[in-house]
Every structure is written in structure tokens, then in C-alpha cells.
């Protein structure tokens, strides 16, 4: 086992020499205690006790509601959700219909990719951090929605984050940049049209090429303008959010994403803890040893 680890290290060292020149003086093979300092979920991989499995084929649906993020509690739609198209109150879990859980992505079975930015080949993902702080749209991780005559409030991340959408005709003058932006809404028939500007922070665009590595861009785009059309299905069980992303600083023309949420009777089923269920840091991430 140790031999295997040493082999891995040797290969890595040789590779780094080829790719980046001679090994740096300040880069060293980690000691056992340094490896043990990493969160527990990494230990097997770091010690060479298991093999990293990467998926190179089509995206398989993840466990969870309708193919939602891993770790998400399975949503159980109730039999009689409100059929009032203007009442969006309730628990909404991601997935469960056309659009899939990955806005703009290839989607799983039943999913549908949004149009790609021009000039882009293969699958495209524009991840606007909707799972976490920038919670534009009732997308990806689901939301609990409260609604009154003045505003609609979406809460995410086990009630830790909230996005407010005001039923008004004009944006806040000189709206300060915030992570959720300045959102206003109006009804177009039975469709809620949400217009959002003044979005603060980094919009992460991630693209992965498993064979050849990854490229990650971090963009701050205060010029981003998002228009969402949120429609409830006739039986009240689905919400579809069609979002149009307009940012001339990023793409030459707007692109669209579609996501669908399913009404959930389970108050814990609509949401997932940001990052704690992420596949980046594993299910135990966040609990220091």
C-alpha cells in the first residue's frame, strides 16, 4: 500500500517536472500526519487506499428528488397541492420534470439542456452558484416559498438564505449590488415574470474536461440581467422556471435555462444544505475532526 502511494508520488513528481519544470523547493511529499490533517472523507484517496472514479459517460441522475443533488431527501408530492396558479406558496424540491435539475446542463433522463452559448461545443454548464448564495431562480436545490400581496420570499439552505421578489413595477433606484440581486415581479397571465439586476459577487462558470483537466473561470458580472418566467402546472404539482441570462460581458447573446420543481409535502425535502451534500467535499464535510 505504501509502495503504491510512493509510486503515485513518484509519478506525480515526474509529471510535475515535465509540465512545470523542476520540482519546487517548497513542494514536498506530505507526511502521514499532514495527510491525516485532511477531512476524513479524503483519507482513503490520499493514502492510495481507493481509486478515484470519474464518470466519463453521459450524466447519470443523482440520488434525490427527481434526480436532485446527492443527499437530498426524496420529495413526496402531496395529493392536493393548491391549484391556484397565482399561489406559489409551499415546499418545492428540485427536479421531477422537463428541465431537470441542472439548468443549462445536459440533464438526466427527462432533462433538457438549454441552448448553449454560441461557439461552444459539447455540454455546457453555467453554474451561477444557485445552490448557495446566489439563489437566482427556484432552481437546483429547491426552495420554500412564502407569498403575500407585496412580495414572494424564497428561502434556501435550510432557511439560512432568503431571496425576496417584490411585486412592483420598477427596480430600486441605484440598487446596491447584493448576492441575490434586486428582483421585481409581475404576473403575465398565469406566469410570474421576475426581473433581476444588481447581482453582486462571483458568478462561477465551470467547465470540465475529464480527459484533459479542468478550466474554471470566476467572473464578477454586475451587468448580469436575469429574466425568469415561473409557471405552475395545472395540477399545482410543478413549478417551471425558464430563465434568460443576459450579460453582454460574457456571451454575445442571451442564453436560457429551464428548471422544474416538484411540490413536496416533506418540509425537509425541499432543500439541501449548501455544500454539505456536495460531491466536492463529501457528505461529512463541515465537521472538523
Amino acid at each position: 500500500m505504501m509502495l503504491r502511494h510512493k509510486c503515485c508520488w513518484t509519478v506525480a513528481l515526474l509529471a510535475s517536472c515535465v509540465l512545470a519544470g523542476p520540482a519546487l523547493a517548497q513542494i514536498e511529499k506530505p507526511t502521514e500526519s499532514e495527510l491525516e490533517a485532511a477531512p476524513s472523507q479524503f483519507q482513503n484517496l490520499l493514502h492510495g487506499r481507493s481509486k478515484l472514479i470519474t464518470q466519463t459517460g453521459p450524466l447519470a441522475p443523482k440520488p434525490g428528488a427527481g434526480g436532485g443533488p446527492p443527499g437530498m431527501v426524496q420529495a413526496v408530492p402531496i395529493n392536493n397541492p393548491s391549484r391556484d396558479p397565482h399561489d406559489l406558496t409551499g415546499y418545492w424540491a428540485s427536479g421531477g420534470g422537463p428541465g431537470g435539475p441542472i439548468p443549462g446542463g445536459p440533464g438526466g433522463p427527462g432533462g433538457r439542456a438549454g441552448p448553449r452559448p454560441p461557439g461552444v461545443v459539447g455540454h455546457t454548464v453555467i453554474d451561477a452558484n444557485r445552490l448557495c448564495t446566489v439563489s437566482l431562480g427556484v432552481q437546483m436545490s429547491g426552495a420554500r416559498i412564502y407569498q403575500d400581496r407585496y412580495k414572494l420570499t424564497m428561502v434556501f439552505g435550510n432557511e439560512l438564505r432568503a431571496r425576496r421578489i417584490y411585486f412592483t413595477s420598477a427596480h430600486t433606484p441605484n440598487a446596491p449590488l447584493t448576492y441575490n440581486g434586486d428582483s421585481i415581479a409581475r404576473w403575465d397571465g398565469n406566469t410570474l415574470v421576475v426581473d433581476t439586476i444588481a447581482i453582486k459577487g462571483m458568478i462561477t462558470a465551470v467547465d470540465f474536461d475529464l480527459e484533459n483537466g479542468a478550466h474554471t473561470l470566476l467572473l464578477t458580472t454586475p451587468s448580469l440581467h436575469v429574466i425568469e418566467r415561473i409557471t405552475k402546472s395545472a395540477d399545482g404539482s410543478k413549478l417551471t422556471d425558464q430563465a434568460t441570462w443576459i450579460d453582454p460581458s460574457v456571451t454575445s447573446k442571451p442564453y436560457q435555462t429551464t428548471s422544474t420543481l416538484t411540490y413536496s409535502a416533506d418540509p425537509l425535502g425541499y432543500d439541501s444544505e449548501c455544500e454539505d451534500v456536495g460531491d466536492m467535499f463529501g457528505p461529512n464535510y463541515g465537521s472538523a475532526k
Binding site: 452559448p117 461557439g119 459539447g122 448576492y179 455544500e275
Partner: protein, 119 residues
């Protein structure tokens, strides 16, 4: 704009970002430790980013870009945007990028006194 399109064009087999993105870009089977000087400690969403200047042993230095966990997770364990400042000596345990570029995912971080920031 060109940079953006180039980056997208270089990725013929992109995968979607679940919980931000997958860890497929990082090779956790080939970890190394890296000692250097903190350039920036970006308390960013969805993940923290650290830029570290690492001496190359020949009188120069090389910039490494390291992606960390979420700010939420680190804050839960006592870290903050002010845990490091430019110029601080630091050490990271790193899972490198598979493409060999100077960076990767940091899995542990220690300050100049050897104290580890848990997450």
C-alpha cells in the same frame, strides 16, 4: 470575452456542476504540501480561493491558485475572511489539478505558527 470562449471551447466533454462542481479536476491520489506566502485569501462563494507565491528554489517564485471549501463550512469551524492576510507564511495540503497547472484543491491549511485551520 475571448478568454471565456476559449475556455469553453477547450472543453469538449463538460459535465454539469452539482453542488457547484465536481472534484474530478483534482487528483486526490497525488497530494503534496506547499509552503509559500499568501497573496490573497478570497473569502468567496461558493468556494474560498487562495493565491500563494511559492519560492521556486532558484531565486524566483511561482503563483499557485488553490480552491478550498465553502466559506460557510470554514466559518463553522472558526475561520474567517481575516484568517490570513497578504504576506502571511502558509502551508497547504493540495490535491493538484490533473492538467498539471499550478494549482488545485486545498485539503488542509496551516498558518505560519503551524496551527491548522480545520474544516
Amino acid at each position: 470575452m475571448k478568454k471565456w470562449l476559449l475556455c469553453l471551447a477547450l472543453a469538449p466533454a463538460m459535465l454539469p456542476a452539482l453542488a457547484h462542481h465536481s472534484a474530478a479536476a483534482f487528483d486526490r491520489t497525488k497530494p503534496f504540501t506547499l509552503k509559500g506566502t499568501m497573496v490573497t485569501w478570497d473569502w468567496a462563494n461558493p468556494h474560498i480561493w487562495a493565491k500563494v507565491m511559492v519560492p521556486d528554489g532558484k531565486g524566483g517564485s511561482i503563483l499557485f491558485k488553490l480552491e478550498g471549501p465553502s466559506a460557510t463550512g470554514m466559518a463553522r469551524n472558526g475561520a474567517s475572511a481575516h484568517s490570513f492576510k497578504a504576506g502571511d507564511p502558509v502551508k497547504f495540503l493540495v490535491a493538484p489539478y490533473r492538467d498539471g497547472s499550478n494549482g488545485g484543491e486545498f485539503l488542509a491549511v496551516w498558518d505560519g505558527t503551524g496551527k491548522q485551520l480545520k474544516f
